[in-house]
C-alpha cells in the first residue's frame, strides 16, 4: 500500500520589495480562498531591507521615517496584527491554508502553536532546539529566534513570520522609535538579551537555501505533506500587482494610523 501524502505548493521568492512581499501573501490567500491553488508555503527575503508594522500600529509612532529614508530602508503596513519587525538577515515564511483543512485548528492560538511546530522541526534539522512561547514566538534558550502573525480572511488562514539568520539590534533600533531617548540604550541592551539568531546559536552563518531546505522538511513533517516547487499563477501575479499598487506601496495604506 502506498501512503500518498497530500501535496502542497512551495514558493521561493528571494529579494522582493516589502510591497511585493506583502502583496504576494495576500494574493495567495485570495487564490486559495477561491480554490484556485493548493495550500501554499512560501520562503522569502526582502530587498531592500524593510520594516513591516502590524495592521493596528501607528506608522509614525513606531518607525523613524527619516532614518528609513537615509538608510534606504522600506516600510510597509501588514494585513496581520502584531508588532514592528525589521527584515534584513532572515528567512521569512508564509503559509496559506483553508480554515476548514483538517490540519489546521479553528482555534487561533492552537493554529499558531501548530504552525510554529513546523519551524521548530525545521530548526531541529539545523541542530537547534527551540520551543514555542505563546502568543507568537519561537525561542532558543529563552531568546526569541522567530515571531509570527496570523490573519483569517474569506475562511482562509495566512500566517507569516521570521526566522532570524542574523540580527543587528543597533540598526533595528536606529529605525524604530523608542518612547524616550533616555531609555534607548537600556532598551537596546534588553533586546540584545532577549533576541538570538541562527548565526548566534550555531556560531556560523547559514545561507537562505540551507535554512529554506530545513524549513521545507519541517513543514512536511509537521503537516505530513509533500511540498512541491511551484510558481505564482497568472491570477496571483495580477492580484499581487494590484494589491501592491492600491495598498502596500500607497501613502493612504501605510499612514492610515
Amino acid at each position: 500500500m502506498f501512503n500518498m501524502s497530500e501535496q502542497w505548493r512551495l514558493l521561493k521568492t528571494e529579494d522582493r520589495t516589502a510591497y511585493t512581499n506583502m502583496a504576494i501573501d495576500w494574493a495567495v490567500l485570495k487564490a486559495n480562498s477561491r480554490g484556485l491553488v493548493p495550500p501554499t508555503v512560501r520562503f522569502y527575503t526582502w530587498k531592500p531591507s524593510a520594516i513591516s508594522i502590524g495592521y493596528f500600529q501607528s506608522l509614525k509612532e513606531e518607525v523613524d521615517l527619516d532614518m528609513c529614508k537615509r538608510l534606504g530602508v522600506n516600510y510597509v503596513r501588514r494585513i496581520t496584527g502584531g508588532g514592528a519587525v525589521y527584515h534584513e538577515h532572515e528567512l521569512t515564511y508564509s503559509i496559506v491554508i483553508p480554515e476548514s483543512h483538517p490540519q489546521i485548528s479553528k482555534n487561533i492560538m492552537e493554529s499558531y502553536s501548530r504552525i510554529c511546530g513546523a519551524l521548530i522541526r525545521g530548526l531541529k534539522r539545523l541542530r537547534i532546539n527551540s520551543q514555542y512561547v505563546p502568543i507568537n514566538d519561537v525561542v532558543v534558550d529563552g531568546k526569541k529566534i522567530s515571531g509570527s502573525a496570523q490573519t483569517r480572511k474569506s475562511k482562509t488562514v495566512l500566517q507569516h513570520g521570521t526566522v532570524l539568520l542574523d540580527v543587528d539590534v543597533d540598526k533595528m533600533f536606529s529605525l524604530l522609535r523608542v518612547p524616550s531617548e533616555k531609555i534607548r540604550d537600556k532598551l537596546i541592551s534588553d533586546v540584545k538579551q532577549r533576541v538570538t539568531s541562527i548565526k548566534h546559536v550555531l556560531g556560523e552563518e547559514l545561507s537562505f537555501e540551507e535554512v529554506a531546505d530545513a524549513m521545507k522538511t519541517g513543514f512536511e513533517e509537521e503537516f505530513n505533506v509533500e511540498l512541491v516547487d511551484g510558481g505564482l499563477t497568472r491570477t496571483e501575479l495580477e492580484d499581487s500587482k494590484r494589491f501592491e499598487k492600491n495598498y502596500f506601496s500607497s501613502y493612504e495604506w501605510n499612514h492610515r494610523k
Binding site: F56, S58, G81, I108, T151, R152, K153
Partner: protein, 94 residues
C-alpha cells in the same frame, strides 16, 4: 483636546490610544486604537472606533459598550481585552 495613552495589557500586548476628547461634554470626538495586538476580524477595530464616537468617557459606559460591540460582532482579541481597552481609554485622561 488630543490625548494619548500607552498601556501594557496585563499578560498581553502594548496598547496605544489616541483620543480626540471634548472636556466640556466629556465625550469622545474621535479615537484611534493602535498597538501590536491581534483582533479578528481586523476590520472590527475600525468598527469599535466608529461606535465609540460621541460616547461618554466613563468606565462603566465604555466597558459595557465595548463588551456589547465585541459580543454582537463575534470579535476575538489576542493580547487585548475589553477591560484593557477600557483602561487604555480612561488613561488618556489621567
Amino acid at each position: 483636546m488630543r490625548l494619548k495613552s500607552v498601556y501594557k495589557i496585563p499578560n498581553g500586548k502594548l496598547l496605544k490610544v489616541f483620543l480626540d476628547y471634548d472636556p466640556r461634554s466629556n465625550l469622545i470626538r474621535d479615537i484611534s486604537i493602535t498597538g501590536d495586538f491581534f483582533a479578528y476580524p481586523e476590520e472590527s477595530v475600525e468598527l469599535i472606533e466608529r461606535e465609540l464616537r460621541n460616547t461618554v468617557v466613563d468606565r462603566d459606559v465604555l466597558f459595557s459598550k465595548i463588551k456589547s460591540i465585541v459580543e454582537r460582532n463575534g470579535i476575538e482579541f489576542i493580547g487585548l481585552d475589553v477591560e484593557g481597552l477600557t483602561q487604555g481609554i480612561l488613561m488618556c485622561l489621567t
